[in-house]
């Protein structure tokens, strides 16, 4: 969706410190040029196919459909991208743009670690230096991803300010960019931030919806009746929804993180239920979770990737105009949806994506049998093994961890052997 000078209704824009003005303009122009350059687009397509494994399939879920007895349920399999999430689509796009702009270093922020891994992968492949900012709390929650980022050659910087989560990582990445903008590109992982990032990330992610358009017609002869996506920053939702924006018969549902409850600090619901307020921070205007004094607030979700205080200005605008319906799913329902998909279809979903599942599963039984719904499976659940084990109260997992730790060579043992 195209903006008007970076604005989508009252949301979006570019509210950055003056020091970043030139770099922001450079990205704006580079993106404008690149998105109309057939050579760039051909290279992008090639990398999507050969590096990430696109197109991803549209999978019919016969067992789930039968289980609910309502709408026919399909999954768009973004979990099958290399590194296991839709984040790859955007990172490949921006990575190629970085080469085009002649910069040699990328900075990124990450919550769940999926964007961090994707950035580290692409940086390795394109020969770019890479620094990833990650909240110290998120590092604890998602250590396996941190491990891989480091193995890929990225520098992972724990952010210990504020609540030590995604929003603080984003602030710190912006600060790095302020002093290194001449050789560094800030590779934002979702459709947030100053213009043109929301539009650019949505453009790279739109490959999701574009494929669904073709695949749905080929597989069941029509566009889906309804689309579901989880909404953290909103990039996978933009990717699925935007290509269908003008197809009025296609309904769209965005699912936010209800977390543990509707008290401020317990959830990440910015759009549904009037819980967010309009604000301007981190480079753009959108609905933020904040107090009456305009201070941004802490958020919670069982899925680190949805734990963000703002939301894409594109999604905020489409929610306001009513084109997208917003809802939320609670942590418990999310774990239940995750487990149901495991048992019924043999697919391991990310906890982020399980929000979209939970939202869809609520509606599915009440929809007609010939209705077709597509749920965006934004990522796979391998990274969530620790959190899911805890949530389902698996009894054997703690024992495994204890035993594994006992068998782990300590620094001292290693020293003895060397």
């Amino acid at each position: 969706m195209q903006s008007e000078n970076g604005f989508y209704g009252q949301y979006g824009g570019s509210y950055i410190p003056e020091i970043l003005y030139s770099s922001q303009q450079q990205i704006l122009h580079a993106f404008e040029e690149a998105k109309n350059d057939p050579e760039f687009l051909a290279e992008l397509n090639k990398q999507w196919q050969q590096f990430s494994g696109r197109p991803t399939p549209l999978t019919f879920c016969a067992n789930l459909t039968e289980h609910f007895g309502g709408a026919q349920i399909y999954l768009k399999r973004e979990d099958l991208n290399h590194s296991g999430a839709h984040k790859m689509n955007n990172v490949i796009g921006q990575g190629l743009l970085v080469k085009r702009m002649g910069k040699k270093r990328v900075i990124a922020e990450t919550g769940a670690g999926q964007h961090g891994i994707a950035t580290a992968l692409v940086a390795a492949r394109l020969g770019l230096e890479c620094t990833i900012y990650m909240g110290a709390k998120d590092i604890e929650r998602q250590y396996p991803n941190v491990f891989w980022m480091k193995q890929l050659g990225a520098t992972v910087v724990p952010v210990t300010t504020g609540a030590q989560t995604l929003r603080d990582a984003l602030d710190e990445a912006l600060r790095d960019w302020s002093s290194s903008h001449e050789e560094s590109h800030y590779l934002i992982g979702t459709s947030c931030g100053c213009a043109p990032f929301p539009e650019m990330v949505a453009f790279f992610q739109s490959v999701i919806g574009n494929e669904v358009r073709e695949q749905s017609v080929a597989q069941f002869g029509q566009f889906p009746d309804r689309l579901y996506a989880c909404v953290g920053g909103g990039s996978n939702a933009c990717g699925l929804f935007l290509p269908f924006l003008d197809d009025k018969e296609v309904e769209m549902v965005g699912v936010e993180a209800g977390g543990k409850g509707l008290e401020l600090g317990e959830h990440s619901i910015r759009l549904s239920h009037n819980l967010g307020q309009p604000g301007i921070a981190q480079g753009f205007a959108t609905m933020f979770l904040q107090d009456n004094a305009g201070q941004l607030q802490e958020t919670h979700s069982i899925a680190a990737g949805l734990d963000y205080v703002g939301v894409s200005p594109i999604i905020a605008h489409l929610a306001e105009t009513g084109r997208i319906k917003m809802t939320y799913a609670m942590d418990d329902d999310v774990v239940a949806a995750c487990t149901l998909l495991l048992k019924k279809e043999g697919i391991i979903p990310a906890l982020e994506s399980s929000h979209a599942l939970a939202g869809a599963f609520k509606d599915a039984p009440n929809l007609p049998k010939d209705a077709k719904i597509v749920i965006n499976l934004s990522g796979r659940g391998d990274k969530d093994i620790f959190n899911v084990a805890k949530a389902v109260e698996d009894e054997t997992f703690p024992q495994f961890l204890t035993d594994y730790l006992a068998s782990y060579p300590t620094t001292q043992n290693k020293g003895d052997k060397a």
């Binding site: 003056e18 020091i19 300010t161 600060r175 050789e183 560094s184 604000g279 201070q295």
Partner: protein, 261 residues
């Protein structure tokens, strides 16, 4: 001419360079921050730049970020802050107060109301580093109506035509950022190319009729000597905060004396 510019011009008649000192409102407590401002004004600083804390101060380095977060552990209120600053402003007619914050808390307060209340409390300038001039039409007109100055920033990487535009729109004074990056000592320092400060200031002077203040990374007397004759105000932010953190008001005042006397 604007009230701020008039003040600066008058003071500059017998001072080669003016001092602007930065204080985070509410750090470590509201009372202590007000007492610190009072002390600085007793010491005769020309300006106090009061930062009203925001949860996500993206143009600031570690010292100021930490102070803002600490300050926000209390409930801070813009209107109360303005009244308290107004009292100080009245007591120290030889100094001026400018208010700095980020857009969101001020936007929630209301930009029109902010300009009006600031003027009522004799605060003559406002600095909002994340509000670019392109998005500032209403803010600018609110400032104009209330006869206070929106202070704009320029940086060493501001393109020449933009620099000319910002400098020509400047009233009160123009905030010249001395280097790329965030305020204070930063973990990100050293990555950016440095332009010659003298060339940069000379270039700004070509376009600016408003006085010039220079800040970011200033912590030594030699830096202030270098600015003398080329700028009107030297802005001391993180260095003062660091001194204060190490040795309280006493250490802060010692730094001011070392730098300016």
């Amino acid at each position: 001419m604007s009230q701020l510019a008039t003040f600066i011009e008058a003071k500059r008649q017998n001072k080669p360079i003016l001092s602007m000192t930065h204080v985070v409102y509410g750090y470590p407590s509201v009372e202590e921050s007000l007492s610190w401002m009072e002390k600085l004004m007793e010491e005769g600083v020309d300006f106090i730049e009061v930062q009203f804390p925001f949860s996500d101060p993206v143009a600031d380095g570690p010292s100021i970020v930490a102070a803002c977060h600490k300050a926000l552990e209390q409930k801070l209120d813009v209107d109360t802050c303005l009244s308290q600053l107004g009292k100080l402003a009245k007591r120290f007619p030889d100094s001026r107060i400018v208010l700095m914050s980020y857009l969101n808390p001020m936007y929630r307060f209301g930009l029109d109301k902010l300009a009006q209340r600031a003027a009522e409390e004799n605060i003559l300038g406002l600095i909002l580093p994340d509000l670019p001039i392109e998005q500032a039409a209403t803010y600018q007109s609110a400032c104009k109506t209330n006869n206070i100055d929106p202070v704009w920033l320029v940086t060493p990487v501001t393109p020449p035509d933009r620099l000319a535009m910002l400098a020509s729109q400047a009233s009160g004074f123009l905030y010249c950022v001395a280097r790329s990056g965030v305020t204070g000592h930063s973990s990100h320092e050293g990555k950016a190319k440095q332009t010659s400060l003298d060339d940069y200031l000379a270039q700004i002077k070509q376009h600016a009729s408003a006085p010039m203040g220079v800040g970011f990374g200033i912590r030594e007397r030699a830096q202030i000597e270098q600015l003398t004759g080329k700028a009107d105000i030297a802005i001391i932010g993180s260095a003062l905060l660091d001194a204060y953190n190490q040795g309280g008001q006493k250490a802060g005042i010692k730094l001011i004396k070392d730098l300016f006397h």
